[in-house]
């Protein structure tokens, strides 16, 4: 028999094959992500002699990405707490956008409204959009997911798909089946300034300026508040949380509320930025934001933001370089690649195998 004699230290050092596969898993994904902009960056250097075009892509991408980050946070919060992909989340975003837009006329907001009035009016619509989306999300959980808590995972997933379709049709009935241009309230494409030739527009600034505070608010809330702690406890172990006196039902509803609030905000920002609304925007947004959440590491808040920003850039580069009819295919191809290389995402940790 061979001599035994692998010391504990030696055993703790990971095996070569494990190191390699972990390496491929993490850096493979990063490599694929970087390859895309890098390829076009090199092309730009050859064609234009500078990286301005890529820079513009990235600037727009980051602002778009900020919006996707908000939506992705909603996915990740819900998945973290009940391990369910809320398929209808994209539609929550869309309904938020629609609700915000619906208030513009009654509030007298149009392209020429004075600044103070505009800001106040938009704050009102922001709050309204957030509340509508938040309460809608809570209602969906109450009606469609809570009754199915004990059922196999298949059941609430299908219900989620069903809600997604119902809400899309609400969108169709509300504003029709085609894209609908909305007043360019903040003149979103007007350039504000430029950095090294890269143009930063008002819309870009808005997206970043509203998203950052919201994300910071959310992360500190989850990290420090009592309810935030309840959320994290429930996410880790619902049974134990119940035994500690945490009302799991309320905590879950709260999570859906938070996710909805963020999606509603994202809806308004997106409408101001893109100056249009469409019943189908939720479906695309949903899948893009979900890809972002998974790329970052589902259940991980920082990951969702990171993923959102990255996906925004990929989307923008694809729209600009390949053609926006191909962009969904590009993004979904990335989703598949993430699932193949690193399903736990960039930031997410591998779950400990128990036993």
């Amino acid at each position: 028999m061979e001599a035994a004699g692998i010391s504990a230290d030696a055993a703790l050092k990971p095996r070569a094959s494990e190191v390699i596969s972990e390496f491929i898993s993490k850096y493979g994904l990063i490599a694929i992500l970087i390859a895309f902009p890098a390829y076009y960056g090199i092309q730009d250097l050859i064609d234009d002699g500078n990286l301005t075009r890529l820079g513009n892509n990235l600037a727009d991408g980051l602002s778009n990405g900020a919006i996707w980050a908000l939506v992705a946070l909603g996915y990740t919060l819900v998945y973290g707490i009940i391990e369910l992909i809320n398929f209808a989340h994209g539609e929550i975003f869309m309904i938020g956008a629609f609700s915000a837009f619906a208030l513009w006329e009654p509030l007298g907001l149009h392209a020429n409204t004075g600044t103070i009035g505009l800001i106040l009016g938009l704050l009102v619509t922001l709050v309204a959009a957030m509340l509508v989306s938040g309460s809608l999300n809570v209602m969906i959980e109450r009606v469609g997911y809570r009754p199915l808590r004990g059922a196999p995972k298949l059941a609430p997933l299908i219900t989620a798909v069903g809600f997604s379709f119902i809400l899309q049709n609400v969108g169709i009935l509300w504003l029709g089946a085609s894209q609908r241009a909305v007043p360019d309230l903040i003149h979103s494409q007007r350039e504000l300034f430029d950095i090294f030739g890269v143009s930063i527009s008002r819309g870009d600034l808005l997206a970043i300026a509203v998203t950052i505070p919201l994300v910071l608010l959310l992360t500190s809330f989850v990290a420090q508040s009592r309810l935030g702690k309840a959320m994290r406890a429930t996410a880790q172990d619902p049974e134990a949380a119940k035994l500690m006196g945490i009302n799991v039902d309320t905590t879950i509803s709260l999570t859906f509320l938070l996710g909805g609030l963020l999606a509603g905000a994202a809806g308004l920002i997106n409408t101001l930025y893109q100056t249009n609304v469409w019943y189908f925007q939720g479906f695309t947004a949903g899948l893009i934001a979900f890809t972002a959440a998974v790329m970052g590491g589902i259940g991980n808040l920082r990951g969702a933001v990171l993923g959102g920003l990255i996906i925004g850039c990929i989307q923008q580069i694809s729209d600009n370089r390949i053609g926006n009819e191909w962009t969904p295919a590009v993004i979904f191809a990335y989703l598949v690649l993430i699932m193949v290389f690193r399903p736990q995402g960039l930031v997410g940790e591998e779950t400990r195998e128990a036993g």
Binding site: E83, L84, I85, V143, G144, P147, L148, G150, A151, P152, K153, L154, A155, P156, L157, I158, T159, V161, G162, F163, S164, F165, I166, Q168, N169, V170, I172, L173, A177, F283, L287, F290, V294, G323, E325, W326, P328, A329, F332, A333, L335, V336, M339, V340, P343, E353, A354, G355
Partner: protein, 391 residues
Amino acid sequence: MSTIAELRTRPWAKYILPAVILVAAALFPLFRPPLDGFMDDCILALAYIVMALGLNLVVGFAGLLDLGYVAFYAFGAMTVGWWASDFFTGAGGAEEGIHIGVSGFAATLPGIHVNFLIVVIGAIIVCALAGAIIGLPTLRLRGDYIAIVTLAFGEIIGRIFQNGDEITIFGDYKLSNGRQSISPIDAIDIPLLEPFDSALNLRPYYWTIFAMVLVVLFVNIRLRDSKLGRAWIALREDEVAAASMGVPLVKTKLLAYATGGAFGGMSGAFLGAYFSSVNANQFQFGFSIFILAMVILGGLGSIWGVVLGAVALAFVNNRLIPDVLDQGFVGEKLRDIGLDFSFTEISFGIFGFILVIMMVLRPEGLIPERRRQMELTEGIGETESVFEARV
């Protein structure tokens, strides 16, 4: 004992009702005129039955939530678009084309023209391969992730064909016609029979798709009670235990995707030939949900349930919504009170509603399959794996 009660006890009694239904369905076209709107609906319903039975195999038997089934419709339809039309004009010489097994008019056209039966076999092979490829990335994933990845593939493939006029293959040939149809598609031409003509007589089409339904029913029933069928159920219930009992997880899952996908391809090829046109615009996520709704409504894993679900939703989609609701009584009343919308516009919302209602109220479906009923209503058989099985 009354005669009926006595008959019920015979071992073949359970075959009576299905047999009667099948015979009635087979003879049905003889009682309708050759060109008939109702028969047209039935033909569509039969095509959807084939698809739903295919999806039932993947989702119902093997428990793999496939939200991208439209990909197989796409491949099936594109196969018939490529091989039974003049899409590839220029192949085999500009004026001659390639002809395999065709006669009559189609034999004179440029482009690739292959006999329908061969095209169907081709579609089956293409879709089986596609199924295996789509399934590969999902092998190590949990249920909800499988849904997302299959959905992503459905979208990717749909988009590729929708933008296929921008892609060239084998030199100057476009991959597809993009948003425009490939049309016309050759008439179905079965040896010993005249080529079909959908402008004259729908009956041959009906019997063709009915034959496909019989084949698919046969395959489903045989597999359900076989070694593979048991392996699928075991894998669905408890992957880890299944692997420990000797079930090879990769092979078993890929077989589910491939077989289920093959049926989608068959039906897709038929529909392309029936409509005499293939249009990539139809390859949308909504179609996957449409078929899924049939499986859910009928009963996951329940062969006859799924047949019923497919028939029901086909009629809701083709008849109830446009004719009864929109044009009929309900639509009129709604217009009277000033609500001007078309039910057709919300047909997908209605399917969404069906999905929600079914899962909340009766997740086992209209004709439940015994085991699924236990899983869905009593929570039996829901094993949370503490660790993932190695594939």
